[in-house]
């Protein structure tokens, strides 16, 4: 048999063994731990020698005399360079601390050409297309149960039995911030028939809640943004044929309120392939000391490494870090230089404060340097909430990002970790930068945001998306928009083409939910319920024809579809978590009963069902 024949026989290696080989991932954290361990050994040796010297136990020359000086000196001569080198590689391993630039740290290991004149290679170099890990990494520490946290929480989950032990609250004693949400009230159609608001596809609230629930914390009411929970999931809405957006509608009985109906309006965007757009991405990464824990910088490293493996050959990638200072760790690498990009990402290390950095200015300078006309030019901030990026005032930061947006450089935010997340600021900054805010709580979520739905995260297809819904007073007596509390617009803002509204990415689905009180006998002769109008611009800024849809009685159905069941369950869960005044008869048992056993054919939706059950267990 020839080696070729043998090689073909190896094509029959068992699938499970191949998958196991693919998934055998050594994380940067493990590599780093190895360095830390080495450093620890050296440091321990130094301490031991120093202790011996202090105790006068080291021989001082001759058979019976002791001379600490020469020995100490000798030790220092031998250890200090080693210690220094080790410290540079491990504890101070941030590229800014390295004497030579990190991208060239391992030149012999870079298999693919780094010369831009050479042929681009689209394939990943080190890893394969990342598969879903067989087990979730145990990156979360156990929830801290301190005396202060064990006290009854002011944000206690609803329906909590009085004798149940309190859940640790995450709003006490840490730096996380959520803007207070005042729920939209019911509005009488006779007085205000039209509702105006800005639409976006932020989804950060759901992974944030998932993280809190999985860690066993109680839920801060203001962390619950129902529209972001809804928009986290994909729905089988009709997709557009000729335009960038398409509308869908459904009307059904509110499961938790027998007196109202739920109207869901689904919006789907056109799918644009990520590789059909040239990308100029600048990763602006917070490497301050607070980013050291496993759910922060190591997670960012894994997330961006996944993204690096999915870049197009002609894309440009730069990495700017900020801590005590800012540093251009990677300057305009091509997308095919996967190994080089991942090498720089893996060399990042968290240390120092964030004072004195002008990271955001540097990031935008680099983005301008490699600007791609008609491409996706974007600065992507990854942080645990520390915004000392060079402009400390939030309003100045918003203005700066808005100005840069005008020049075609957008801004997206990835939040990680617990303890310092400023969801409202992150969301506002992303909105000003025509980008999205996502919260990454796990490797799976990173894969979802940066691999599976990369088009949605990175490729904007519709800008300044605004909607107006006008209800017919003949059939609807009052309405209440669920969620979108901080995104309402006035009629003037809706009609003003210069109003900055939300952005939608490729393949996004957005769900709007209204709770309606119908007039008496409306259902028996329901004709024309409402009129929907959506205004938006193309990514080039051209105003697009208004998208219109009339919602008629045909949208009503007594039997809930699987999508209706899921949407209403998410809404109900959100209302319960918020302890909403509009929750009426909502209960965990009824919502679980509604969705349990439904085959959604979607891992994320099944995970939601499990998450609700876990939350119920948590509060028992």
């Amino acid at each position: 048999m020839t080696s070729n024949q043998f090689n073909k026989i190896l094509n029959g290696i068992d699938d499970n063994l191949i998958l196991q080989a693919e998934k055998a991932v050594i994380t940067p954290m493990k590599k780093r731990n190895k360095h830390i361990f080495s450093f620890g050994l050296i440091a321990a040796s130094i301490v031991l020698v120093a202790a011996l010297i202090l105790l006068d136990l080291v021989p001082q020359g001759g058979s019976h005399s002791f001379d600490a000086g020469p020995v100490a000196s000798s030790t220092n001569q031998q250890e200090t360079p080693q210690q220094s080198q080790s410290a540079t590689q491990s504890v101070q391993g941030h590229p800014s601390k390295l004497p030579t630039a990190a991208p060239t740290a391992n030149p012999t290991r870079d298999l693919y050409p780094t010369d831009s004149t050479q042929a681009p290679i689209a394939g990943a170099t080190q890893g394969l297309t990342p598969g879903r890990p067989t087990a979730k990494p145990t990156i979360w520490p156990e929830p801290p149960i301190s005396a202060t946290q064990a006290a009854p929480s002011t944000t206690m989950a609803p329906n909590k039995p009085n004798d149940a032990p309190p859940m640790p609250s995450y709003t006490q004693g840490n730096g996380e911030g959520y803007t207070q949400i005042t729920e939209n009230p019911f509005i009488e159609v006779n007085k205000t028939p039209t509702s105006y608001f800005s639409i976006d596809a932020n989804t950060a609230s759901y992974p944030n809640l998932r993280s809190l629930i999985n860690k066993g914390y109680s839920i801060p009411k203001d962390a619950v943004r129902i529209e972001e929970m809804l928009n986290y999931f994909s729905y089988d809405y009709q997709t557009p044929n000729d335009s960038l957006l398409a509308l869908n509608a459904s009307l059904f009985d509110t499961p938790y309120n027998r007196n109202t109906k739920l109207l869901t309006i689904g919006l789907a965007t056109k799918e644009v392939q990520f590789d059909s757009v040239k990308n100029n991405l600048v990763f602006l990464i917070d490497v301050s000391g607070s980013m050291m824990s496993d759910d922060k910088l190591p997670l960012v490293q894994q997330a961006f490494s996944m993204l690096a493996k999915n870049l197009n050959p002609e894309d440009r990638v730069s990495i700017v870090t900020y801590a005590s200072g800012d540093k251009v760790a990677l300057d305009g690498a091509y997308g095919y230089e996967t190994k080089k990009i991942i090498g720089v990402i893996e060399d990042l290390f968290a240390s120092g404060s964030t004072a004195g950095s002008r990271g955001i200015q540097t990031a935008y300078e680099i983005a301008s340097k490699y600007f791609i006309k008609d491409g996706n030019n974007r600065v992507i901030l990854a942080t645990d909430g520390d915004f000392n990026v060079g402009i400390t005032s939030t309003s100045e930061l918003e203005t700066f990002i808005s100005q840069k947006r005008q020049s075609g450089i957008y801004f997206s935010v990835f939040g990680v970790g617990r303890g310092n997340i400023q969801s409202s600021i992150m969301e506002t900054l992303a909105l000003n930068g025509n980008g999205t805010y996502s919260y990454i709580d796990s490797v799976d979520e990173a894969k979802r945001a940066l691999v599976d739905q990369i088009g949605g995260s990175m490729v904007t297809v519709a800008k300044d998306v605004k909607a107006s819904i006008t209800f017919d007073p003949k059939y609807v007596s009052s309405y209440r928009l669920i969620g979108y509390e901080n995104k309402s617009l006035t009629q003037e803002e809706f009609e003003d083409t210069n109003t900055d509204a939300g952005e939608l990415g490729s393949g996004h689905t957005v769900t709007l939910v209204y709770e309606l009180e119908l007039t008496d006998n409306a259902l028996s002769n329901l004709d024309y319920l409402a009129h929907v109008a959506v205004r938006y611009k193309s990514v080039q800024g051209e105003e697009q024809p208004e998208l219109k849809m009339g919602i008629t009685g045909g949208a009503y159905h007594e039997n809930l579809t699987d999508t209706d069941k899921f949407v209403s369950a998410v809404v109900e869960f959100g209302l319960l978590l918020r302890d909403s005044q509009y929750k009426q008869d909502a209960s965990f048992s009824s919502l679980i009963q509604r969705i349990d056993g439904v085959n959604f054919n979607d891992e994320l939706k099944q995970e939601f069902v499990a998450l609700v059950k876990k939350y119920v267990q948590n509060i028992k």
């Binding site: 048999m1 080696s3 070729n4 090689n7 080989a21 394939g123 990943a124 394969l128 297309t129 590789d275």
Partner: protein, 184 residues
């Protein structure tokens, strides 16, 4: 798009199946092809041929693991293309072939399909019996044809260590197969 949806597109004879496959597994298959061919254009053509091959195979085949189904097609097509090329580019594949020469005779013996299947079974049994790390290193090298440097980076061990592991596993495999009565 989930794998089952892509497979359904193939069953529905919907050409979006090709697009979806390329979008999800294009880079993955390119990586395998390029490890063998060391040529961008040839690798890209092999990847394109993979979708055509899949189109002709599904239906009736319904792959259990679509990713590996594509991987195996790409690997086969790339090896065939490599063998048909007049000027062969030195790379991971040629290195791997040379390494495997140590355990096989090199005679172009015709093997019937049943014999090949039995050999496959034996190799799988052997790989399942070695340590997971050794098994993974072997597969990375001889299934995916990954460079030694990439494997060493991946495991945080030296290239020399990777060579030692591979050499040991090859020898064990040779002994195992000889014991099973194979004449390689």
């Amino acid at each position: 798009m989930e794998d089952h949806n892509i497979i359904q597109l193939y069953f529905d004879r919907d050409e979006k199946a090709i697009e979806a496959s390329g979008q999800k597994y294009g880079n993955y298959c390119f990586y395998i092809a390029n490890n063998i061919l060391q040529n961008v254009q040839d690798s890209q053509e092999c990847v394109n041929d993979t979708w055509l091959n899949a189109w002709n195979s599904i239906p009736p085949t319904r792959p259990n693991c679509l990713k590996l189904f594509f991987a195996k097609i790409t690997r086969n097509l790339s090896i065939n293309r490599y063998n048909n090329k007049k000027s062969k580019q030195a790379g991971c594949y040629t290195e791997a072939l040379n390494e495997l020469n140590g355990i096989i005779s090199g005679n172009d013996a015709t093997q019937d399909e049943a014999e090949c299947n039995r050999l496959r079974q034996s190799i799988n049994t052997f790989l399942a019996s070695v340590s997971p790390r050794d098994c993974n290193v072997f597969i990375k090298r001889y299934f995916f044809f990954e460079p030694i440097s990439v494997i060493s980076d991946h495991y945080g061990i030296s290239a020399n260590n990777v060579h030692k592991i591979l050499s040991r596993v090859r020898m064990q495999l040779k002994q195992y197969l000889q014991k099973e009565g194979y004449t390689l």
